[in-house]
């Protein structure tokens, strides 16, 4: 009986969720900047322009590929749409010290943060990385995508352009 009730509860919540508009607000979670400061994600802002939030880690090859690909076209993207990319590393204590040197060594022009116990990753229901979110001027999630194949950044850019 308990289980039946539970199943019903899960079912009804799922239905409710599916019936809702897809737009959702970016959660408020504490993460750290590469210089150790605590930052709350509700302070993300970009003068009303779109923000891309991309999860990565130093051991994740497709993540590096995605951020490398965006780096190459970033100047053009910024010029056209004013977009800002925020790259959030989920590296834990094993690799945390390598995060800033890795991103700098790659010459990535992004804001880099650490989510070292995956609190933000969990709050956003991310299953696996890379996982990328696009936020509009109100920090609402308007689009998201998991994994990275060569050329995926083109689809992301089309979505960014829709916000302008």
């Amino acid at each position: 009986m308990k289980n039946a009730l539970l199943a019903l509860a899960i079912f009804s919540s799922t239905l409710t969720a599916l019936a809702q508009d897809k737009i959702s607000i970016f959660p408020s979670v504490n993460i750290k900047s590469t210089d150790g400061k605590m930052i709350n994600t509700n302070s993300f802002e970009n003068d009303g322009n779109p923000i891309v939030v991309s999860f990565w880690a130093t051991w994740c090859k497709p993540c590096a590929k995605e951020l490398d690909a965006i780096t190459e076209v970033y100047d053009d993207w910024q010029e056209e749409t004013g977009v800002k990319v925020i790259a959030i590393s989920i590296d834990d204590a094993r690799n945390a010290v390598k995060v800033a040197p890795y991103a700098n060594g790659k010459d990535w022009p992004f804001e880099i943060y650490l989510d070292s116990n995956s609190d933000l990753k969990r709050a956003l229901n991310v299953n696996a990385i890379p996982h990328t979110f696009l936020l509009n001027s109100k920090n609402e999630i308007v689009w998201q995508h998991t994994s990275y194949f060569d050329g995926d950044e083109e689809e992301l850019f089309e979505e960014i352009q829709k916000l302008k």
Binding site: K2, N3, L5, L6, A9, I10, S12, S13, T14, T16, A17, Q20, S24, I25, P27, N30, D35, G36, K37, M38, T58, W59, C60, K61, D92, A93, R94, N95, A96, V97, K98, A100, P101, Y102, A103, N104, G105, K106, D107, S116, N117, S118, R122, A123, N125, V126, N127, A128, H131, W143, Q144, H145, T146, S147, F149, D150, G151, D152, E154, E155
Partner: protein, 547 residues
């Protein structure tokens, strides 16, 4: 009672959904196992692990409700039955995680299950690594409070998850962190940023041992510091644990300690990091008789490079929690565009060196052998490196873009792996290996790409040489197809090849992946956690999604 709470949480969530929002994720893995002669993987050979069910599945779903300062969620998990290689404790199905959380005026309260980390995690870290079946979440109460800008306090009380049950031991902890520059107005504008932190953690478990008088409360404390000055960064944490006789340390009464120090310098196009650590008797669990990955309170990071190429993961390092000391250095460098080496697009260089040794261990007196139960176990000179080498590795990776369509990544790795000492294989002695990998990425046309890997591992020990080839074709943003084969041609016992074909479809946050082929036996690690997976053959389907 457990379920009642979940239902309450859910129903409340459903009712309030008009004003808040619901989100969640889902993953389900299915595998059909097929008998395989070459692997001796069949019902007649019980040691091969061939499941009599033939078909196994793992799955979970998280559902979370958020409404401004309030959130609540549950996770349902089902192992019917667990895939091969998963800890045997995962059997059956049920609600394994449920919580409610609210924050107001700087106070953040969580009741139910939660994950948490103090400092680097060496004193306390609850986290999950789903692909390995690792989950030591707390069930209890956690408070977080920020009384002033730049000051962060946390406290928690809870018991830890043990598969579908909970450990007997209680864990209590407090942690404080101060960002001096934010907390003191006069320091706001100073370029040097300083953070200080400290923690205290204690566990309680009743002593019912007839032979020894075991401590029922075991405390530990930690202090940490982080200093940043422009391109420079320095971090350190020291942990001390009071005597904690346990199954893992053979019930010795010695105190434990751990030190982790790291520093880095980086600027655009250049990054260098150095790290050193020493761990002495730091296995810390909320039940003293537990082993494997069960009921661990803290996280002791392995200071070695985490590899992604398949052959480079055959000999992975896992922290030896009873004692080790090691170093790691990593260099990232981008050779400038237009230089002779860099060419039109520049060239990436990534070099890493790491080693791990035993700690020094001396008998406490002439008559007591090392690690004798009921004694102080051993004495150790903090600054002296032990004689036994556990692990050493050097790797270098060069990546070069030739033109707009073609990119090469070449990697060389030299590894020394002390298999008997690490969680590793039954092979005793040092395994020396050299690995070469050439990866090619080629863009055929817009959104169509092909990626290949050729890998070779040579070693005279254990299973001998391996060669591997992989080709992957992707069509952005939806499809991928891949074929690969591993061949253990240097094995004097059995030369087995492990072919696999796979295909996948992605859309938004959903992913479907299907694969058919053989899986080698081995130690698979994510982060510092490893598990032993038997060889198998079969068809697998994995579905993930989030909303």
């Amino acid at each position: 009672m457990k379920n009642l709470l979940s239902i309450l949480v859910l129903c409340t969530g459903t009712l309030l959904a008009q004003s808040g929002q619901l989100s969640g994720n889902f993953q389900s893995d299915f595998q059909l196992y097929l008998e395989d002669e070459a692997l001796d993987f069949n019902l007649e050979n019980p040691s091969s692990g061939f499941p009599s069910e033939r078909f196994l599945s793992n799955g979970f779903a998280n559902i979370m409700y958020t409404n401004s300062n309030f959130s609540a969620g549950i996770r349902y998990e089902a192992y019917q039955n667990a895939l091969l290689g998963y800890p045997s404790g995962y059997k059956g199905e049920g609600i394994t995680y449920r919580y409610a959380q609210f924050s107001k005026n700087g106070l953040d309260v969580t009741v139910g299950n939660f994950y948490e980390q103090f400092g680097s995690g060496m004193i306390l870290r609850a986290y999950e690594e789903r692909n390995l079946g690792y989950d030591n979440a707390f069930d209890g109460i956690r408070l977080k409070y920020s009384p002033l800008k730049g000051v962060y306090l946390k406290s928690l009380v809870g018991r830890q998850r043990l598969f579908f049950d909970k450990g007997e031991g209680l864990v209590r902890g407090v942690d404080g962190e101060v960002s001096l520059n934010e907390a003191f107005v006069g320091l706001n504008e100073i370029k040097t940023q300083v953070l200080l932190g400290a923690s205290f953690v204690s566990k309680y478990q009743k002593d019912l041992n007839p032979a020894y008088n075991l401590p029922e409360n075991v405390g530990s404390w930690a202090s940490r510091m982080s200093v940043n000055h422009g391109r420079w960064n320095f971090n350190s944490e020291y942990v001390h644990k009071y005597n904690d006789p346990s199954a893992v340390n053979n019930y010795i009464y010695k105190t434990g300690n751990a030190l982790l120090m790291s520093g880095s310098y980086s600027k655009r196009g250049f990054g260098l990091s150095l790290a050193a650590k020493r761990i002495d008797n730091m296995d810390y669990r909320s039940e003293r008789d537990q082993n494997l990955q069960n009921l661990i309170i803290n996280y002791l990071p392995a200071l070695t490079k985490q590899h992604a190429y398949t052959l480079a993961t055959i000999y992975p390092y896992g922290t030896i929690t009873t004692g080790e000391m090691g170093l790691q250095a990593e260099l990232n460098y981008k050779v400038k565009k237009g230089s002779r080496l860099g060419g039109k697009y520049g060239m990436g260089v990534l070099a890493n060196f790491s080693n791990v040794y035993a700690i020094d261990k001396q008998q406490i007196d002439a008559f007591t052998p090392l690690d004798s139960t009921g004694t102080l176990g051993y004495s150790s000179d903090f600054f002296k490196v032990g004689e036994e080498k556990y692990f050493q590795e050097f790797s270098i990776e060069l990546s070069k873009k030739v033109n707009k369509k073609l990119k090469f990544i070449g990697t060389y790795i030299n590894t020394e792996y002390n298999s008997a000492a690490i969680v590793g294989y039954s092979y005793h002695g040092m395994i020396y290996s050299d690995i070469f990998v050439l990866e090619t990425q080629y863009k055929i046309k817009s959104k169509h790409s092909i990626r290949t890997e050729i890998q070779h591992l040579s070693t005279e020990q254990h299973e001998g040489n391996w060669v591997m080839g992989l080709a992957e074709y992707t069509i952005s943003p939806h499809y991928f197809f891949a074929v690969q084969n591993l061949y253990n041609y240097g094995n004097t016992d059995k030369k087995i090849s492990y072919p696999t074909v796979s295909a996948g479809y992605n859309k938004g946050t959903s992913r479907f992946a299907l694969s058919y082929g053989k899986q080698r036996a081995g130690i698979f690690c994510v982060g510092g956690v490893c598990r032993n997976v038997p060889a198998s053959n079969g068809l697998s389907l994995s579905i993930t999604s989030s909303f």
